[in-house]
């Protein structure tokens, strides 16, 4: 089954580039510029991985994380942020997010992380 990946970032280029690159791996990728529209889409469709920016106007990455953990516990959340120095916040999120990437993001590392997340999910699903 084709895995669905959601990218949320108010920087349009992040979504565009991630989508171009991830599509090459055969993933079904959808991009959103804000938390509200992303959450609306989650009600309609199941995504295996949500990659979200932390700081956004309106519904921010933490809010997205909270709602995904509550409503869609099977979905893995990967956080990215332009705040380079948020050790405390990162530590606090360790348990809830699958991975955490400071910007600038290495796309290869992001891909590897998504692969691990999907493998883990499948392993978990098989168990």
């Amino acid at each position: 089954m084709q895995s669905s990946i959601m990218i949320i970032d108010d920087e349009r280029i992040v979504g565009d580039m991630a989508k171009l690159s991830l599509s090459q791996e055969g993933y079904d990728v959808e991009t959103f510029l804000d938390g509200e529209s992303a959450l609306k889409r989650l009600e309609e469709k199941t995504f295996q991985v949500v990659v979200t920016d932390l700081k956004m106007k309106g519904v921010d990455g933490l809010e997205v994380l909270r709602i995904v953990k509550e409503k869609y516990p099977q979905t893995v959340v990967i956080m990215i942020t332009a705040f380079a120095n948020l050790d405390v916040a990162i530590e606090a999120l360790r348990d809830d997010v699958f991975d955490f990437f400071p910007k600038p993001v290495k796309i290869k590392e992001l891909k590897a992380s998504i692969r691990r997340a999907l493998a883990g999910e499948e392993a978990g699903g098989a168990a």
Partner: protein, 476 residues
């Protein structure tokens, strides 16, 4: 000397004065009692002498021998009484007078007896009787004079004592009052200086009394405040730099990340991309670079101190102009305005453009914090006793949570959902500090926020600074 010691000293002096006066009065009183007792004795003696002389006259007029006998009897009766009171009489008049009196009495008796015996002389009797009476009357008169003098002296002593106590009390009161006043004036001076942010030591040495200790304590507190303020400013500056760096990092990281992701995607997919798509990638990189340049330029603009255009202005007028600038926002936001302008406000030295920037910034913040129907209040105050002017911008908006209040002047801090750069209040703070002033903020949730800008009354500096500006321009 300590105030409590001075009060004790004044008590001691007054009590000593009262004791001295009491002692002197008691002595005078005792003397008077003695004199009065003597006067009683002298009066009764005098009466006796008078009776003798009457009897003597009876004899001389009517040759009544019985009269002579009665004189002798009186003298014999008087002698022991006189001896009984000898001590008292000697104390008052001295031993000589007593002896003289006894002698005169004895002479008189001798002369009367001689007359009774038939060989006496009437003239001698009369002379010695007269001498006796004159002497005793003289003593009484002298003693009366002494009593009068004594009473007079006692009166003077009481008056003098009264004046001394009064004078002393006045002197102590004056001494205490003036030193207390001096210390209080020093305290007032010191607290005013602290209120104005001047933490230097007082020039005068504090007096060595309790109030001096208060002055010393305030002075020490002032020094502590000075140290703490420096510490606080330093730590705040460090915290601000931290926030600034984090904010800058965030603002720079986003376009950097975009460029990086474009580059990575390009490297991965370049052989699959059409030339149009390749061109789009390059253009996007250029746009993101432009974004970076814009952020950096803005930051440098804020960081660069601008040359002030200081001139004397009417703060009320400046505030009025600012309200004109935000008029449109007020109308759209359905916000009422209340103006409380202090008509006594003197001309102030300020950069009108910069102060306008600050006030407009605060007014916009206020308007944006309010729901339709809110009120924007602008108040100006002339406070000559604090040597400053104040302008307040208050809203009836949602307020700022206490936790956020200490960060609102930090760069890149914003409470706005959209469109806040987080630089407005930071820049405002810099401008007001640069004017030698200060900004304070008070806020209560759902009640509103009040920003108070304090500016020094520094018209003299205005003249100097504009002079030096003129010189600088001349040099260019």
């Amino acid at each position: 000397m300590k105030i409590v010691h001075r009060i004790h000293l004044s008590y001691a002096v007054n009590i000593a004065l009262i004791f001295i006066v009491g002692f002197l009065s008691l002595q005078a009183f005792n003397e008077l009692m003695m004199k009065f007792h003597f006067m009683e004795i002298a009066d009764s003696l005098n009466t006796a002498f008078l009776e003798m002389r009457i009897a003597e006259k009876n004899y001389l007029l009517y040759s009544d021998k019985e009269a002579l006998n009665s004189i002798c009897t009186r003298i014999t009766e008087t002698m022991p009484a006189l001896a009984e009171e000898r001590e008292n009489i000697e104390q008052v008049t001295g031993g000589n007078d007593y002896n003289r009196l006894v002698q005169l009495l004895a002479d008189y008796r001798g002369n009367v007896r001689a007359l009774i015996d038939g060989h006496g002389d009437e003239t001698k009797v009369r002379d010695s009787g007269h001498a006796l009476r004159t002497f005793s009357e003289n003593i009484i008169k002298m003693e009366r004079d002494k009593v009068a003098a004594l009473i007079e002296r006692s009166k003077s002593i009481l008056w003098l004592a009264f004046l001394a106590v009064l004078g002393f009390a006045l002197f102590f009161a004056q001494w205490n009052a003036s030193s207390i006043r001096r210390s209080l004036e020093q305290i007032v001076e010191l607290t005013h200086a602290i209120a104005k942010g001047d933490f230097s030591r007082p020039a005068k040495k504090p007096s060595p009394d309790e109030l001096g200790a208060v002055v010393q304590a305030i002075s020490t507190m002032s020094e502590e405040l000075n140290l703490r303020e420096e510490e606080m400013i330093r730590s705040k500056r460090l915290a601000s730099i931290g926030v600034l760096v984090a904010g800058v990092a965030h603002e720079l990281n986003n376009p950097l990340n975009n460029i990086s992701m474009i580059a990575q995607t390009f490297a991965e997919l370049h052989d699959k991309l059409g030339s149009d798509q390749q061109l789009e990638f390059i253009n996007q990189i250029d746009e993101e670079t432009e974004r970076l340049r814009y952020t950096i330029r803005n930051l440098l603009d804020f960081a660069k101190p601008k040359e002030k255009q200081i001139a004397s202005h009417d703060l009320n007028e400046v505030a009025q102009k600012c309200l004109g600038l935000v008029h449109n926002m007020l109308t759209i936001g359905n916000v009422r305005t209340k103006l409380n302008f202090d008509e006594q406000m003197p001309q102030l030295c300020l950069d009108e453009h910069q102060i306008q920037q600050v006030l407009v910034n605060m007014m916009i913040n206020a308007i944006q914090a309010m729901q339709p129907g809110g009120a924007l209040t602008v108040t100006t105050r002339f406070l000559p006793e604090l040597e400053r002017a104040e302008i307040e911008v208050s809203d009836t908006g949602k307020g700022i949570p206490p936790r956020q209040l200490e960060y609102i002047f930090d760069p890149f801090f914003t409470t706005k959902e959209e469109g806040g750069t987080g630089l407005g209040l930071w820049v405002s703070y810099g401008i007001i500090k640069n004017h030698g002033g200060d900004i304070r903020v008070q806020s209560a949730i759902d009640e509103g926020t009040t920003f108070t800008i304090m500016l020094p009354l520094n018209l003299d500096k205005c003249v100097r600074r504009s002079d030096s500006n003129a010189e600088q321009h001349h040099d260019h």
